[in-house]
Amino acid sequence: MGSLHLVTGKGGVGKTRFSLLLSSQLGGCPIAEKADQIRNEAQKMNLPCPEIFKIESKDLLEDFLISVLKVKKIAQFASQSKLLQNLVQVAPNLDEIALFKKWISLSANQDLVVDAPSTGNLLGIFDAIKTAEKMFEGGLLRQAADDIDQALNLPNRVFVYAVSLPENSALEEMTQIKQHLHQLYPNLECRLVLNRLHECPEDLSSIPEAYHDIATKRPELEKKRIEAFSFWRVIQEGETK
């Protein structure tokens, strides 16, 4: 059985780069989402580009409908109904559940790294599963939520990597995410990854004075923060492997 590795974090913290590093560490397993960015990043980092699964959210509702209605034409018509889309918005987060279900099935037999949405949106996906379980006694959506829930409760089936820069607001948010996920799924392992850690330059004399404050104080502050949190992996600025 494969494992699903979900990489999240605020925008711009290096989720795509970390996803590539992780995929390469896992023997070059496929990556889902953000195809173009992954290709560009692989080129920049001189890493072989793994297989990419591009999942279009507009196709998800249609896929789901096909599995219910069996007839593609009707499913396509229904998926375009504004009313259905709105009903789906006030009932379950169908999009989210369908997306998660797809990730689970793609990682059933092989490892899969997902360059996932930013933190708030990923938490929204986790919340949608629990909401569906509380709100619906039956139906296909409940069944999908149950399947995901089962996978999330298996040991070593799903891992979440919260990538963060060494900044206070980002670290506070990462801690909240870890706690939130732990409450929902005590067996789910959430690993904190610290990216772009700065070092104090060895030779300050070669650097104009205007930069001295930032060059020396920033690494000190970052060191303090590292001591306050425990990280799964710390990546130095510029590190690629």
């Binding site: 987060n93 959506l141 700065h198």
Partner: protein, 313 residues
């Protein structure tokens, strides 16, 4: 709000200093202004040493006084419940949706925002928003809010009477997703929601006109490291804005040239290059937007002293 009230929405990706900027904007505004946050994180309250609350709290920084409060979906429910009481099942449904659904939370936050903006008597209102990735959903919600309450909800709420064949079909399909009971519950909930339709419709219209009104400014905070995608993603929303300002926080362009091949020099030169690209992209997509910058400074203590230094930068 009064006729002379002004609004400033502060947008930006996570970690660019958006909360600091929202506080700075409110501090620089006339006395007795309001900082209203839509962001579910308590960050802006933490920086001011306050507990997150939907009740207005007074903040005093040096000689400046302003208020801070957050939107709260449960408070909106209480307000609505007083007018048209919900049964236990509907109340539970509402709470589940608030906890579980981003899109629904967005709608409620926006209804609250619209009502808060209308009721507020402050001369200046700064609206602090969630990180931009999540806020893109909020942008979409501002556009779809009116549509949702004017069209779909009306159709759904008339389920017992004049349901047309298309609507019936959609509800049948939904039953296979959710089960029969859940659809009945959803429809009961929608019926209750429908009893507040006029209020929602008014709020949706107010919000759209206030968001893009003459008295409203949109301030997008970025850093030299920010992805260019934020500019293109925000295009359809920001181009409707009458006053648009970009603020590059932690700007490095005014710092002197730095040579050598140390990792520090490489980082700074890369930042300079990214900032130049970012500014040209903004100028290309939004030729009329104002672009300002705040130079890079060491931050991270989260102390009052640091906040003051930033405010006066």
């Amino acid at each position: 709000m009064t006729e002379s009230s002004r609004i400033c929405f502060v947008w930006g990706p996570g970690g660019v200093g958006k909360s600091h900027l929202a506080i700075r904007q409110t501090y620089l505004a006339p006395a007795e202004s309001l900082l209203l946050t839509l962001d579910p994180s308590p960050r802006v309250f933490n920086l001011l040493g306050k507990e997150r609350s939907s009740e207005a709290q007074n903040v005093k920084i040096e000689d400046q006084n302003f208020s801070i409060k957050s939107t709260d979906a449960n408070r909106l429910f209480d307000k609505l419940n007083k007018i048209s009481p919900a049964n236990e099942q509907v109340a539970r449904y509402f709470k589940q949706l608030v906890n579980g659904l981003q899109e629904f939370r967005n709608y409620l936050a926006l209804i609250e925002l619209a009502e808060e903006l209308q009721e507020a008597k402050n001369p200046f209102i700064v609206v602090d928003t969630p990180p931009f990735h999540e806020a893109v959903g909020l942008h979409r919600s501002i556009f779809t809010l009116k549509d949702f309450f004017e069209k779909s909800l009306v159709q759904l709420a008339f389920k017992s009477g004049i349901l047309n064949l298309g609507v019936k079909k959609v509800i049948d399909i939904t039953k296979s997703f959710l089960g029969k009971t859940a659809v009945e519950q959803a429809l009961n909930f929608l019926e209750w929601l429908h009893s507040h339709l006029e209020r929602f419709q008014t709020a949706a219209r107010t919000l759209e006109s206030l968001t893009f009104g003459d008295q409203t400014e949109h301030l997008m905070v970025l850093t030299p490291e920010s992805s260019l995608n934020y500019i293109t993603q925000g295009k359809s929303f920001f181009e409707k804005s009458k006053k648009l300002r970009f603020l590059i926080n932690r700007s490095v362009l005014s710092l002197p040239a730095i040579s050598g091949n140390s990792s520090f020099a490489r980082e700074m030169n890369q930042l300079k290059e990214s900032e130049t690209k970012l500014i040209s992209k903004i100028q290309e997509v939004f030729p009329k937007a104002i672009i300002e910058s705040i130079p890079l400074m060491v931050m991270g203590e989260d102390s009052q002293e640091e906040l003051l230094k930033f405010i006066h930068s």
